[in-house]
Symmetry: C2
Subunit: 310 residues, 2 copies
């Protein structure tokens, strides 16, 4: 089934203890679409400026991503983010954000985007997410957000969540949004709003899936080399939602969602090995399959009962 | 194989958002020995004061724990800890610590304790841990510690670690001790000191096992009701080391260690459901087996390859 993602297309300047890049392709819609391109037809919707050139289009197109709905704003500049990470890599510190053309973004879906079977609303202002959702005929809609919107537009975000099938958030954001410290309770509260699927992203600890049918937990793939965590969450979402789209996009079983978690986790782990999209640009399907198998191996244990003492 | 634990025996006063207790049985050696009592013969070594009475001995003895090596200091008072947890339950805030008899603790192992096949050095000053280790003839020795000793007695702790087979620490402590933010690298550095087995406890996110043979990650059991996290780490250690002792105590295979992780995780999850040792006191082996099976179910996924796009 076809998949459309609406979100930011950006240039990022990133410094980590392991290196830096002055200007590299980034943004949630970019990381998401590259990751999901391994599973299905993907269309990316978002604004760029004059500085977004053939080289950037080519990165997406080489992975088969349809760029027809990238809106090029004449005389504008592409969204720019500059940030750095400390030695522990867990927290992104923002040094500069220039919204540029993204500041006036008012997404209008093309006919083809509207007709996509699956829609991913990457992290943008929740009113805009709702406008996009209302234009879409998708059978399965997933959403990401961030602490900024929980703090400044909580009611709007909750209203937007009512209209989607799946919420992907960091676990701290889920707690902040629901004001419930217990993740099981918080996820149930989100599901009561409408979505059947809640995914709690837990960074280096992995991710948890919470549906009516139960819980599934998967650690992150253990890496010795993490060079740049930027885009990990969006790559995870791309693998997760991409798998769902390939699997049919509606009436998603818990088992399918568990497998989708593994594909998201595998692609996110490759993403952070190098800066920005560098690693995922040359990622192969064999590498993805191999890491999913490895994830299964390092999380499996034999639960044959042993004799315990009364 | 028999198991001896050396550590604190305490009275705890704990307040959480869900209730409080003024004086309840606690301490690392107590939580550990109750958890490990489901697997093998357990001896507990530690000092108590006159205030430690028949009711407290009975809690341990009802689970078959051998209390002969509990040292009762005449005229002394038992180690006392008062703390509270905020709404998120992740961090214990200490309000009062009275070491009492624990302040002069100089552990001397009895002949029976010395001859135990497996030894657990619960969190006490690392010089004392080393003294105990040198008295012991155990074939498998595991150790816990805490940030206080990493900050104030790092060299001693590293020296103690050289003499043990397994290190169980919170992942933040492993990073602090090795000064390496990457867990895979940090665990390898600890293994280079001597221990073959490193377990990173990750609180609500579960635990990770890192051996030469590889990595195993297990999420915590998802609970809707957590009343008191006190003792979770020691219950985990008790289940983990207890399983190892039951499995033979030496030449432990990676697969055995993975199963041990599941038993530790299961018992720790029961421990936090109620205050102090309340839940584990009436825990049954059927409940443990059932939760281990549930852990296997909620972490398993089908990794049959799917068709990906080039």
């Amino acid at each position: 089934m076809s998949l459309t993602v609406v979100g930011s297309i950006a240039f990022d300047a990133v410094t980590t203890p392991f290196g830096s890049r002055d200007k590299m392709l980034g943004g949630s819609a970019v990381h998401f679409s590259l990751a999901s391109s391994f599973f299905t037809d993907v269309r990316v919707v978002g604004p760029v400026g004059d500085d977004f050139g053939d080289a950037e289009y080519a990165v997406l197109q080489r992975r088969g991503v349809n760029t027809d709905d990238i809106e090029k704003v004449q005389g504008g500049e592409t969204f720019f983010w500059r940030g750095h990470y400390e030695y522990d890599l867990n927290t992104a510190h923002t040094d500069d954000t220039r919204l540029n053309v993204f500041g006036d973004f008012s997404p209008k879906l093309s006919a083809a985007s509207r007709e996509s079977d699956v829609l991913f609303l990457a992290n943008i202002q929740p009113d805009l997410q709702r406008e996009v959702r209302e234009q879409s005929e998708a059978k399965f809609v997933a959403l990401d957000s961030m602490n900024l919107w929980i703090e400044t537009a909580r009611e709007s975000l909750l209203k937007t969540i009512e209209g989607v099938d799946c919420v992907l958030l960091n676990d701290a954001e889920i707690r902040m949004l629901t004001r419930r410290p217990n993740l099981v309770q918080a996820a149930r509260e989100l599901r009561a709003l409408g979505p059947k699927v809640v995914v709690a992203k837990q960074g280096e600890y992995g991710a948890a899936l919470l549906t009516e049918e139960g819980f599934f937990g998967l650690p992150a793939y253990p890496l010795e080399t993490v060079n740049d965590p930027t885009g990990a969450g969006d790559s995870f979402a791309g693998g997760f939602v991409g798998y769902i789209a390939a699997a049919g996009g509606e009436d998603i079983s818990h088992d399918t969602l568990c497998r989708a978690m593994a594909y998201g986790t595998a692609i996110a782990s490759y993403n952070v090995e190098e800066f920005g999209t560098e690693r995922v640009q040359r990622l192969t399907r064999e590498e993805i399959t191999s890491r999913v198998a490895e994830l299964a191996r390092i999380t499996r244990f034999d639960d044959a009962p042993v004799a315990l003492r009364a």
